[in-house]
Amino acid sequence: MSFLELQNITKIYPNGTKAVNETSLNIENGEFVVFVGPSGCGKSTLLRMIAGLEDITNGEISLDGNVINNIDPSERDVAMVFQNYALYPHMSVFNNMAYGLKNRGISKEEINNKVNDVAKLLEIDQLLTRKPSMLSGGQRQRVAMGRAIVRNPKIFLFDEPLSNLDAKLRNQMRLEIKRLQRQMGVTSIFVTHDQTEAMTLGDRIVVINNGVVEQVGTPKEIYSKPNTKFVAEFIGSPQMNLFNCKIENGIAHIADIKINLNNSKNIEDASLGIRPDDILISDNGQHTCEANLVEYLGSDMIIYSKIGDQEFSCKLSSKINLNAGDTFKFDISSTLVHLFDNTNGSRV
């Protein structure tokens, strides 16, 4: 039996919206799982049902062997880091961290020790007497983490905790969260809309769309073998190019370009996907296109172009000299291609 089990979880709001639909999932003890999906896909609702902040319409959640459907959030022994941190504005950092412990009737001395230990771990021990309004974004983030850690809960829940930080700080905190989780070994669920966070943080990733789990797997599995068209587009940056095409006799026709696919059945309405960095640009490529726009990213650059009326992008080293308006030659290798059936979006 897994540490956390979700069985056919469904959430229907009073207004009839189905936020989560028949979701089942097992999470092992000590695992770091990331729920990723576009905004409004139900990933936060799922997390909030685990925390007990939303009622469960149907299905069963069990944690550490006990069904927790009807257990009050205060007794589930889970800790959550909110997107806006939800620090208690009228309490000092110390009291923010100590509040949950006080409510559990832990002795003053023990609270002092625990809070100080965690504060040291997170390097916020200088801030214990300050109010949240006197902290910077990164410091608030740490306090929110500290409040969760100090309780030593069965499970950590993160609800997009990095999205209010600026880019540099986000990368830094991402690393720190990963290290802390490794170090403490507490089962964690992290919700995000950012595929980079999902890929770098998760032991396993759960890709969610419209309340349905599209794919569960390690970052490598999901990146290299996306099960559906949605996952293919969502995971990876810049996003995978998807060409609408017709496949006849093992050959994909995209506008006037033909790509030879080995052993493929005929599909009337297919999508041929290829990642921007899998398009091979060389002077003796078979196909020719014009670069409409070039985005310079430092070591890499992204070229936007068109085949017929379908836009696509290629990522290549910025050492290559190519400007908007230039033409370039490229190849598409059949081994690097992902093929999806447009009728149901699933991988062929």
Partner: protein, 283 residues
């Protein structure tokens, strides 16, 4: 963020407004320190006189009323107790009702809010006779309880507490829940400290409201021991006309100035809370 061209004009208007508000009070105070003869002959005063201690001593200690038993000091104490009771209970009850309305999502919350809101339309003056009947049936005439109890519900305060609670983000409640706070603890540990400013402001408003009640204590009290400042005001302005002596104008102004002190006291005590709260919500 300045609209410069208007600034000078605004200043002038505002300074005029300030004078308009402050001058009457200063005149009253200055006049209250003169003896009755000079006020009678020379009218209101702008500068201070020399009868300060005499006038104020007389007002505070002279016994008056029909029974010649009640002093102004007694009336101040009565008004203060009444205002304090009304303000404290109004604030506590409103804060708790608003809490129930905002955080307990039962189906009737909206109709109940409207019912409470509608009671605004039935101020004490309108329901004064039924109220009197109930209070006197309960044997509460000529008691502080009787003075205070019928005035402790406040739709206004409930409304403003409700609006304030609605601005508190949901995540705070959720986070508190995960930290093991029950509904009572959330009210005590979160809502009350967060609404400090609101509590102080409401307390001040309600104190002044209670302090300036006239009709209700007039009807409720037959025993002069329970007379209040505002009732006394009517008395000192009428009873002296009947005498043959000079109108005791100096004492009257002294009485007015003294009657302002309890509310001023409340503001001075609460201002620290209040200013702190205002500064924290400053843009």
């Amino acid at each position: 963020m300045k609209f410069k061209p208007l600034e000078i004009l605004t200043h002038i208007i505002l300074i005029l407004g300030v004078l308009l508000m402050v001058l009457p009070i200063w005149f009253s105070f200055a006049t209250s320190t003169h003896d009755n003869v000079s006020i009678m002959t020379e009218g209101m005063k702008f500068f201070l006189g020399e009868s300060f201690s005499q006038n104020y001593n007389e007002v505070l200690n002279e016994k008056g009323g029909w029974s010649e038993e009640v002093t102004a000091t007694r009336m101040f104490v009565n008004s203060f107790i009444m205002a304090l009771g009304i303000a404290t209970l109004k604030v506590v009850i409103s804060a708790m009702s608003a809490y129930a309305l905002v955080y307990f999502r039962f189906k009737l919350a909206v109709p109940i809010f409207w019912l409470i809101f509608i009671t605004l339309l039935v101020p004490l003056e309108v329901r004064i006779f039924p109220s009197y009947k109930i209070v006197s049936d309960l044997g509460l005439t000529n008691t502080y309880t009787g003075l205070i109890l019928p005035l402790v519900a406040s739709a206004t305060a409930t409304f403003f507490f409700r609006q304030f609670y609605k601005t508190i983000p949901d995540e705070l409640l959720e986070s508190a829940k995960l930290d093991g706070a029950n509904s009572w603890r959330f009210f005590i540990d979160f809502l009350l400290p967060l609404s400090k400013t609101m509590l102080a402001a409401m307390f001040i408003f309600m104190f002044v409201y209670g302090y300036s009640q006239y009709l209700w204590p007039l009807i409720m009290t037959t025993d002069e021991k329970y007379w209040t400042v505002v009732m006394g005001m009517k008395i000192i302005f009428t009873e002296n006309y009947e005498g043959v002596a000079l109108p005791r104008t100096g004492e009257r102004f002294a009485y007015i100035i003294l009657s302002m002190l309890p509310p001023v006291l409340v503001v001075v005590i609460l201002q620290r809370w209040f200013i702190k709260g205002l500064i924290q919500t400053e843009k």
